[in-house]
C-alpha cells in the first residue's frame, strides 16, 4: 500500500519526465542513500537538484557517491520511472565526489522500493586468463580515451579498466613506435547550482601520469610521452555516453607509428 501511494505521488513528475527524456541535467547536491535491498550492490543513490527541486535516481553512475560529501551530478533524463528507487532515473549519469564539500550523511529506508538487483553488464573486463581477441590490422594512428571523475585522477573500476584493456589489447597487436598520453583538465570555471566549479590544472598531469604508468606496467618497454592540456573542451566520443563534462575529463592515448 505504502508503495502504491509513493508511486501515485510520483505520477505527475513522470509525465514531465517523459517530455524531458534525453535532456541534460547538471547540479550539485548532497546525496541520499536509500537502503533498498535486493542483494549486493542494490542500494539506491538519490540527489535533489536545488534549483528545480526535483529528486533524481543517480544510482547508475559508474562511480557512486559518498554520503559524507556533495556530488556533481551530470546526466540525461532517462526513460525509466521511479519503480526501483523512488525517483526518476538519470541514465546515463555521472556522480563526482566533491571531497572539499562535506555533507550530513542521510539514509532513507527502502520504503517499499526494491533497488536494482546487481547484474554484471556493460563495461567490464575478462579475467587475465581469458585470451583477448587480437584486433585486425592494418594499424594506423589511433586514439583511445580514458575518463575520470571531476578533479580526480583515479582509474574507474568497470569503466577505465575496460577502456584501458581495449587500448592495451590493440597496442600489443599494433606495436606502435610510441604513444603520446595527453591528460586534459576542465579548468574553465562554470557555475553549477550557484557554485563556481573548475578542475585544478595539475589534475591533467596527474591523470596522464596515472595512465602512462599503467601503460608502462601493461606493456613493458612501451615508449610513452606525457603531455597535458588545460581548458578541455567536450568531445562526442560515445564512451563518454553523451555527457559533455565527462568527455572533458579525459586522457587520450595516441598511438604513433
Amino acid at each position: 500500500m505504502k508503495r502504491i501511494a509513493a508511486l501515485t505521488m510520483l505520477a505527475a513528475p513522470l509525465t514531465a519526465q517523459a517530455q524531458d527524456t534525453g535532456n541534460l541535467v547538471r547540479f550539485v547536491s548532497c546525496p541520499t542513500y536509500r537502503d533498498a535491498d535486493s542483494g549486493r550492490k542494490s542500494g539506491c543513490w538519490l540527489a535533489d537538484d536545488p534549483v528545480t527541486g526535483r529528486r533524481w535516481d543517480v544510482s547508475l553512475s559508474p562511480y557512486k557517491p559518498d554520503w559524507n560529501f556533495a556530488i556533481l551530478v551530470e546526466g540525461r533524463v532517462g526513460a525509466a520511472g521511479p519503480e526501483a528507487c523512488g525517483a526518476p532515473v538519470l541514465s546515463p549519469v555521472r556522480t563526482s565526489r566533491l571531497l572539499d564539500r562535506p555533507c550530513t550523511r542521510h539514509m532513507l529506508p527502502a520504503e517499499g522500493f526494491p533497488g536494482r538487483r546487481y547484474k554484471l553488464s556493460g563495461r567490464y573486463i575478462d579475467p587475465i586468463s581469458v585470451a583477448r581477441a587480437v584486433p585486425q590490422g592494418p594499424y594506423n594512428e589511433r586514439t583511445f580515451p580514458v575518463y575520470f571523475e571531476f578533479d580526480n585522477d583515479f582509474l574507474i573500476y568497470q569503466y577505465d579498466d575496460y577502456l584501458l584493456d581495449k587500448a592495451d589489447t590493440w597496442l600489443k597487436a599494433a606495436k606502435p613506435k610510441k604513444v603520446v598520453v595527453t591528460g586534459y583538465a576542465a579548468t574553465l570555471p562554470e557555475t553549477v547550482s550557484g557554485l563556481r566549479l573548475a578542475e585544478r590544472p595539475e589534475v591533467a598531469r596527474e591523470r596522464a601520469e596515472m595512465v602512462g604508468e599503467s601503460l608502462r606496467r601493461l606493456i613493458p618497454g612501451l615508449a610513452v610521452d606525457i603531455r597535458t592540456r588545460t581548458a578541455a573542451q567536450p568531445t562526442d566520443d560515445p564512451e563518454a555516453d553523451g555527457i559533455p563534462g565527462q568527455s572533458q575529463r579525459r586522457v587520450e592515448i595516441r598511438a604513433l607509428f
Binding site: D35, K41, G43, W67, D161, R217
Partner: protein, 499 residues
C-alpha cells in the same frame, strides 16, 4: 659416515610411505619444528588443534629438511623461517604455540629473540612481560623505516606526518627507536605461507583499489598479485625472503640464489587446510570437498562470483539425505548443517559497508555499499581477494579498533587532502599500507589474507584483535552493525573452523 649416508638414504624413503599424524595438542617435540631438527617433511602431515585436525600436503614428494634453508638456523639468532611458520599452525604461528614454547624453554627459544620476539629490545629479556605481545597476541615486532623507503631503498615522500602518542613498549621513542630515530615499530601476526599459488595468483590486470594497472616483478616481468605481506611492502617472495633475512633472522650474509630457490620451491609446494572437524567428522565426506587436496588440485585466482562460488566445497552438505543422516551422530549432522548455512551467510547476508578505505574509497563502489563477506573474500577456494587486498576494516585505527593499550598509538596528520573517512587528523596503532605507499588515504589498510587453516592459528586480524573465531564475527558485527542472529554467528564460526 656410513651411518650418516644410510640415514640420508633411508629417511626419505621411509617418509615417502609415511603419512605422519601428530595427535594431542601440545605433544612436544614433534609438534614444534626447531631450526635444524633435520626431520623429514612428509607428503602428508596432520596436526590436531582445538577444532579438529589440520592437514598439510606437500607436492613433489617428502622433503629431507636437513640442510634446507627454510629449516636451518641460517641467521645469527638461531632462528629459521620455520620458527615463525610452523606446520602445526598452518605455517603461521599461534599465540598458544608461542606460550607453549615459552613454557618449554623458559623463554630461551630463539623465537623470543630480543630484536622482534620481544616487545622491544630495550626491555629486560628474561621477563615474560617483555614478550607479552607475542605471548598474548601472537605479535612480532615489525620495524619500518621512517621516512618511508621502497623495497629497493628508494625514498618515498609521505603525504602525512606521524607522531607517537603512546609508546608502551619503548620501541617508538628514545635514541634508537621511533620516527625521530628513523623508524616506526608496529606489531603484526606472522602470515601463513601455505597455499601460496593462490596468494600469488593474478585474476585481473588492474588494482581497482589503487586505480593502477598491477606492477610487475622487476626481475622476471611477472605481474604481481599484491597479496603478500600485511602492508604490501614486498611484492615477490624473493623480496620478502631478503627482508626477513635481515629483520627476523639477523643473517649477516645474503641469501644465495639456490637458497632462495629452495625456499620458494618448498612453500609453493605446500597446501594446508582443516581436514577433520571434532564436531563434524571428515571434511571431505558426503560430497564435501574440505581439506587441502582440493586446494592442491584447483586452479588459483578465480573470482567466485563468476565461477565456482566461494566455499562451494560445502554445498553438498546443504541437503544431507535421510540415509546419510542416519550414519551421523546428531552432533555431526547438526554441525554439518550449520557449516552449510554458514556458507550462505558468508556469501548472501548483505550489510552496509561504510567508511572503509579500499572499499568505500577511492574506488567508486559508493559509501555506503551493500554487500556481504564475499565482496572482499572473493577468491574461490581461498577466500582472499582476487585483486590486491588492501582494505581498512578499522582493526588498527580509531574509532573502530578495540582499545589495545599494550600497542603503540600514532597520530596521523594528512598534509594534503584529508583522509576520506577519518579526516585530516586521526589515530592508529598501525598505519599499515600507508607505511609502504606514503599515502595518507592508505592508513589503516591491511592486506586480506587466506582464510584457510584458521583453527590452527589464532588469534586473528593483523594485530591479534580477535582471540578466537567468535571474536572475528563479533568484530564485524560491531564494526558494521550487521545484525547477525545468534544462529548466524555460530554458523559462521563453524564454517571458519573447517576451512
Amino acid at each position: 659416515m656410513v651411518r650418516g649416508l644410510l640415514r640420508r638414504a633411508i629417511l626419505p624413503l621411509a617418509a615417502l610411505a609415511a603419512a605422519i599424524s601428530v595427535g594431542a595438542h601440545g605433544d612436544a617435540p614433534d609438534r614444534w619444528w626447531s631450526p635444524g631438527d633435520g626431520r623429514v617433511f612428509p607428503e602428508r602431515l596432520d596436526y590436531s588443534n582445538g577444532d579438529g585436525t589440520l592437514r598439510l600436503l606437500l607436492t613433489g614428494g617428502a622433503l629431507d629438511t636437513k640442510g634446507h634453508p627454510f629449516f636451518e638456523p641460517i641467521g645469527a639468532n638461531g632462528r629459521a623461517c620455520v620458527t615463525c611458520h610452523q606446520p602445526a599452525d598452518s605455517m603461521s604461528l599461534s599465540a598458544d604455540t608461542a606460550r607453549e614454547r615459552w613454557q618449554a624453554t623458559g623463554g630461551k627459544d630463539p623465537l623470543f629473540a630480543a630484536s622482534d620476539g620481544s616487545n622491544c629490545p630495550v626491555l629486560p629479556q628474561d621477563e615474560r612481560a617483555s614478550h607479552s605481545l607475542l605471548l598474548d597476541r601472537g605479535l612480532i615486532r615489525i620495524q619500518r623505516p621512517w621516512p618511508i623507503k621502497e623495497w629497493n631503498g628508494k625514498p618515498v615522500t609521505p603525504d602525512f606526518a606521524i607522531e607517537v602518542m603512546r609508546d608502551p613498549n619503548g620501541c617508538n621513542s628514545g635514541p634508537k627507536y621511533g620516527p625521530a630515530a628513523g623508524n616506526i615499530s608496529v606489531y603484526r601476526r606472522p602470515r601463513p605461507i601455505a597455499n601460496m599459488k593462490y596468494l600469488l595468483a593474478v585474476g585481473f590486470p588492474y588494482d581497482p583499489k589503487q586505480g593502477y594497472a598491477l606492477p610487475r616483478d622487476p626481475e622476471t616481468g611477472t605481474i604481481l598479485s599484491g597479496n603478500l605481506m600485511a602492508d604490501g611492502r614486498m611484492g615477490t617472495l624473493k623480496q620478502q625472503m631478503n627482508e626477513a633475512r635481515d629483520a627476523h633472522l639477523q643473517m649477516l650474509d645474503k641469501l644465495s640464489d639456490p637458497q632462495i630457490e629452495r625456499i620458494e620451491t618448498f612453500i609453493r609446494s605446500l597446501y594446508a587446510a582443516q581436514q577433520i572437524s571434532t564436531k563434524g567428522g571428515d571434511l571431505d565426506a558426503m560430497g564435501a570437498k574440505g581439506g587441502p587436496a582440493k586446494l592442491r588440485d584447483s586452479e588459483p585466482g578465480a573470482l567466485g562470483s563468476i565461477g565456482e562460488p566461494v566455499w562451494s566445497e560445502y554445498h553438498a552438505w546443504d541437503k544431507i539425505s535421510p540415509q546419510d543422516a542416519k550414519t551421523l551422530t546428531p552432533q555431526q549432522l547438526a554441525f554439518r548443517q550449520s557449516v552449510a548455512r554458514g556458507v550462505h551467510v558468508f556469501r548472501d547476508k548483505t550489510f552496509l559497508i561504510t567508511d572503509s578505505a579500499g572499499i568505500n574509497s577511492r574506488v567508486g563502489f559508493g559509501n555506503p555499499v551493500r554487500n556481504s563477506c564475499v565482496f572482499c573474500h572473493n577468491m574461490t577456494q581461498m577466500g582472499n581477494d582476487v585483486a590486491p587486498g588492501q582494505v581498512d576494516l578499522g582493526t588498527t585505527t580509531l574509532p573502530f579498533a578495540d582499545p589495545m593499550p599494550d600497542l603503540p598509538l600514532f597520530r596521523i596528520t594528512c598534509l594534503k587532502v584529508p583522509h576520506p573517512h577519518y579526516g585530516r587528523v586521526f589515530y592508529t596503532m598501525d598505519p599499515g599500507f600507508a607505511l609502504t605507499t606514503g599515502r595518507c588515504a592508505d592508513a589503516g589498510k591491511i592486506t586480506l589474507q587466506s582464510l584457510r587453516g584458521l583453527s590452527a592459528r589464532a588469534p586473528y586480524f593483523s594485530n591479534g584483535l580477535a582471540k578466537d573465531l567468535r571474536g572475528v564475527v563479533n568484530y564485524y558485527e560491531r564494526r558494521y552493525n550487521i545484525g547477525y542472529t545468534e544462529q548466524e554467528k555460530q554458523d559462521l564460526v563453524n564454517l571458519m573452523s573447517v576451512l
